[in-house]
Symmetry: C2
């Protein structure tokens, strides 16, 4: 019995004001293509389908197209829980009416207690989905104290375990932060101060736990308690993370294996570092020059419009950093100080703009203006 | 063969900053209760389920509850088209996955050409839904010129008629403005300058046409081309409109009858008119004092905080008009002029606040202040 585990699609996400929808569409097409060539018994998505509770129409249409293809044409059961980015009620509209078509959106506590049962070569496998909920909602539902996410999970899992049937294998979908797992920059914290951490111990009775929320693929505590990671990279700091989905195999004894299946977005997110001239030279022959780029310029002098220059070879430079221009961070002021003074900066600028250096008379004049402005600022 | 025709629910609508959701819920419960006692073969909703393309979560939950009850428990087919207030793509998410449960949301042109076929005692009845579209979208879809709503309807109806099957009766759902029909204040115009009008002639080949958009129940051109009107009143000017739904009966020959089934919101919307003291007296014994009230005060003198006074007997006064205080409207300025001068107004106010009249010294002082202010204003 095989199923695909994926999570954190964040459809409709913007990255430095660029829509990632075309990349997301391309990655979903790879996913569909994988399914066509490698039949499985189900696809599970452990939350954060959309990036916002009210997603843009274009993201809804992309998801609709995916569902049409996978549930409608390929007749593959798809099991979904909302994550902290999704709007559970919006995502869950008419969920009961979708079930018979194989689209299972588990958006509330009642649905949580009725697993999606898949009949397979190893018998029945029950998929329980725990829709993302903060402890407040769990207190309201269970009428029991739950001061943090860990206690909330414990209470909900007790209710789920009561539903276990001896002849069934049990899979759980949960969108949460398992204690000790590795964060990425593109996740939105569930709460402040560590009260969002959940112990992996709650999960050990399941045959597999399909986790969502953290964007780096990883296991936690046991081989069968896993994050698939996000559909694609959502921050430059994820440049070296392997993105994709997890192919899970169960057998008569339960968990058998988990395999990472890579997915590759057309534009990778990566950081390039060096002096502008070097980067431009390198860009001319870079086969992936269309990637989404964060450029760290190491030049120690000011440059006129470096973004425009760099975009001639790397058209999708989304952000520039100029560490070469900084000499450490002024802790007290919380501000970075410039390594070069104003006069030197202006001389750089003038040379670049006019193609000739300042003459001594001009330098004198600029110097006086800067002194005057500096005195005014300090007064 | 019987079905219920309704439209223009506008779930989530606000009226003078009051949420109408509780009233809408109560009316939907009446609708469900009617269905429980009077079985029909289908329920059709001709657009404007929600009041906005991004409805509030509470409105989505109310609609979800309704669908659960009617499609899920009662197993009654429900056929829906989006109106000009709805967001077709949002409403239509996973529509294909809902069909097998009897929930048919016809949100795009492709679905328009595949009718929902209901098998009944008179044989097959095909329900075609024309989701609301402006002419621009119809031009794009048909690749033919359509300068206005009338031509757009004509083009779409040609495509629909090509699907007609000899053994089927044909019902159409459309959200549009049929030429010559009566408007209400609470509708949002489809376009400006009359280009939204559609001829009823396009519809004559159907056995019944379930229209939405106009809020007053009415037929147009033929007995079988009808607006059910809105679920409830959505403006004070609708105070005398009968609200409800239309029970349609078809027989072997097609259309047989249409019957208005009334629905009553817990709070009616109505206008009361008279002097404040009279209205307060009348309110003390008014059995419907909780209605949503527009009060027209006919008093000719200024009154301190009339809203607060009136709300003691009519707690849901939502708006006040003071025609007694106006002597016609200054056409040139577009402003209403007050019938009483500033000094008289202040005397009214002082008497009411202090329970004693201005003495002559006070009157002199106030008069001087008013003169001074008036001179300043005119200068």
């Amino acid at each position: 019995m095989k199923f695909l585990h994926t999570s954190d699609w964040h459809l409709g996400r913007q990255f430095h004001n660029v829509s990632l929808l075309d990349d997301q569409q391309a990655v979903l097409e790879q996913l569909i293509s994988y399914l066509e060539n490698n039949p499985v018994d189900a696809l599970v998505i452990a939350g954060d389908i959309y990036d916002r509770s009210v997603p843009p129409t274009s993201a809804i249409e992309l998801m609709n197209h995916f569902v049409e293809k996978v549930c409608g044409e390929m007749k593959l059961p798809v099991i979904i829980i909302p994550g902290n980015h999704d709007g559970a009620q919006r995502l869950g509209f008419a969920a009961s009416q979708m079930k018979s078509s194989g689209l299972h959106i588990i958006a509330n506590f009642d649905d949580m207690l009725t697993p999606v049962v898949i009949n397979s070569d190893i018998g029945e496998v029950a998929f329980y989905g725990m829709p993302y909920n903060d402890p407040e909602l769990v207190r309201h539902y269970t009428k029991q104290p739950a001061k943090d996410h860990d206690q909330a999970h414990q209470l909900l899992l007790e209710k789920i375990r009561e539903q276990f049937k001896p002849q069934q294998k049990n899979v759980l979908l949960s969108h949460c932060f398992v204690d000790g797992a590795i964060e990425s920059e593109s996740e939105r914290p569930l709460s402040i101060g560590g009260s969002d951490r959940v112990s992996h111990e709650h999960f050990v009775e399941f045959d597999y736990v399909a986790l969502g929320h953290l964007h780096q693929p990883q296991k936690k505590g046991e081989e069968y308690i896993r994050y698939s990671g996000s559909l694609m990279k959502y921050s430059f700091s994820e440049q070296h993370q392997a993105k994709g989905m997890t192919l899970v195999e169960l057998d008569q004894n339960g968990f058998q294996s988990a395999t990472h299946i890579p997915l590759t977005a057309p534009h990778q997110m990566r950081i390039i570092e060096g002096e502008l001239a070097t980067l431009i030279e390198q860009g001319k022959t870079d086969p992936n020059s269309h990637d989404y780029i964060l450029a760290r310029l190491m030049d120690k002098h000011a440059i006129l419009d470096p973004m425009e220059k760099l975009r001639k070879v790397y058209p999708n430079v989304l952000h520039l950093e100029k560490p070469g221009m900084l000499i450490g961070v002024d802790q007290q002021m919380g501000k970075a100080r410039l390594a070069r003074g104003e006069l030197d900066m202006f001389k750089d600028f003038f040379l670049e703009a006019k193609q000739e250096p300042l003459n001594s008379q001009q330098e004198q004049a600029v110097s006086e203006i800067i002194s005057k402005l500096t005195r005014q600022q300090e007064a």
